[in-house]
């Protein structure tokens, strides 16, 4: 066999035969039923599927928030399934950026403080992380709003703070669960523009769980999940 010409892009996420069973009293809910998936560095991928199909569960498993009931989840080659709580916590802090549907900023902290939280956890010196965070907030279009608390920001602005928080510590992958669901089209477009730009310019890897056609329209790969399995995996030409 001939060696492939183009080098195989490096896999950031490798999921093999992952199941996740929730026990609810007497009966069991099979959220994931033997799912396989590989995500390469630099992807801009949307996971779609009907409600209850397991999208959030999948992101939680990839994000070391949830443990699979069986199967293997590797992030940058490291198996998450058998990590201790502490290791998983460190993994989330250092390698994963989360963006949630409802922004989930800490209400008592300013935009700046929310954004630098993970850096503070990592022990980055104050002055250094301040500078970094101010630059980042400028980049997401929030220059001049650094000292505002979440309740002094619009939904779109809050989500951009949340995004800045997610990428501040240079994660391996950004996991965004319905990030645009609460945003009007202008703010959704603005956030997605931003994400696309960072994906292009910095090679940041994005994985969305979404129903939103606005997101799917921009995704370059769409993985359709149904009933806890991958039903369809489609690559789209770059527009």
């Amino acid at each position: 066999m001939e060696k492939q010409q183009t080098p195989q892009p490096e896999s950031i996420v490798e999921i093999e035969a992952v199941t996740r069973v929730y026990r609810q009293g007497a009966h069991e809910v099979h959220a994931l039923r033997g799912l396989n998936l590989q995500i390469a560095r630099g992807e801009f991928t949307a996971i779609c599927g009907p409600s209850g199909s397991g999208k959030t569960t999948l992101l939680n498993v990839i994000g070391a928030l949830d443990r699979p009931s069986s199967g293997s989840v590797r992030l940058e080659g490291r198996e998450l399934g058998n990590m201790s709580q502490r290791e998983r916590s460190a993994m989330r802090r250092d390698r994963i950026g989360f963006v949630f549907q409802s922004y989930n900023l800490v209400p008592v902290l300013s935009a700046c403080e929310n954004t630098e939280m993970v850096l503070a956890l990592q022990g980055v010196p104050r002055a250094e992380r301040r500078a970094q965070v101010l630059r980042l907030l400028g980049e997401v279009g929030l220059g001049g709003m650094e000292q505002r608390r979440p309740d002094e920001l619009s939904g779109g602005q809050q989500q951009r703070v949340a995004f800045a928080r997610a990428i501040a510590a240079q994660p391996a992958v950004v996991l965004a669960d319905e990030p645009t669901a609460n945003l009007d089209s202008e703010n959704a477009a603005r956030l997605l523009d931003l994400m696309e730009r960072l994906n292009r310019e910095r090679g940041l890897t994005f994985l969305f769980a979404t129903h939103d056609p606005r997101v799917m329209a921009r995704a370059r790969r769409i993985v359709r999940v149904e009933d806890g399995r991958v039903a369809q995996d489609e690559l789209r030409p770059v527009a």
Partner: protein, 404 residues
Amino acid sequence: MEIWRTAWRNLWRNRRRTLVTLAAMALALCVMILYSGLLGGYLRDMERNITALEVGDLQVHAAGYLDDPSLHTRIAQPEALLARLRAGGYRATPRLLAWGMAAAQESSAGVSFRGVELASDSGVSSIHRRLQQGRWLDSADPQGIVIGRQLARILAVSPGAEIVALSQGADGALAAGLFRVRGVLQSIGDATDRAGVFMTAAAFRELFVLPGGAHQIVVRRPGTLALPAAAQAVRAAAAGLDVQTWRERMPTLASLLDSARGGMLVMFFIVYAAVAILVLNAMLMAVFERIRELGVLKALGVGPGGVLALMLAEASLLSLLAIAAGAALAAPFLHYLQVVGLNLASLAGVSFMGVAMNPVWRAHVNAAVFAEPILALLLIVAAAVCYPSLRAAFLDPVQAMRHS
């Protein structure tokens, strides 16, 4: 640290709840500080009344005297012992004791005669300053006596009245003498109030035909010396004699005073239990309201220790504020109680287990008066905060974020 700033802001998210909790904590602390100060004052006064008025810190008797108090059982050479004690920094005075009868115009009563050496007694006991009427003994007036307040009432006498003292002298013959009341004491203690008749040592010796010796030596220790150490030293100096501390002389009272401190602890925990419930409620609410947010923190990689630290920082700030407010609130009241005190004149003459209570109840103020209630508050808050904080620290981020 970021944690303190965040905790401080979190504390004021629910301003009203924080203020109510804070007010309850501060008020309870204030009450406990005042209570502790008053109790301290009471215990100090009781001990002072016991040691400074009647019993002294230590008492020396001839062996066997306490079991069978006889006129003949005396310390043979009190002067030598007194000199030795005084050389060691102790204050000491000899006393002569006997029982008999006192008769006035109207009535008579069984009494306890006490011969006092005036020069040294005033350095040991403050009884000479506790006169309700008239004046204390004077060596220039050998026939003058000072009697207990209750006895004056029984005999229906006041200063100036004549009294006949009757007993048996050391020579076995009838001892009788005519005396004049110089003074009537304030309430000192049950025994003295009802039966005490004080006279000069010289008058006593003449009445009872007793040339030498003493029945009792009352000793006050140097202020710097603890009671057990003083007892040990006096025992060494008074070989062959019976040396007892006031605690040994009044064991029930001593243990009662000791247990009063324990009673205060019980009181602390009763008052603070209510506070603990409020704090527990406030912290549980804080965790419950913020469950989603705490889940997010954990999702972002804050470990259980970080969440725990945040919750404990909040509780610490709350406690610090409560301590500052409670102590500030208590300070002026405590100052008033220390300087002016509570007037117990309406209870005049009331005694507790034979020891008179002072007419004014003043607080005693020292570091412990603040430290003990504060420490107890911190312990209670720590206990109340454990469960909510641990719950917050170990919550599952996925479940917490599903919570809406």
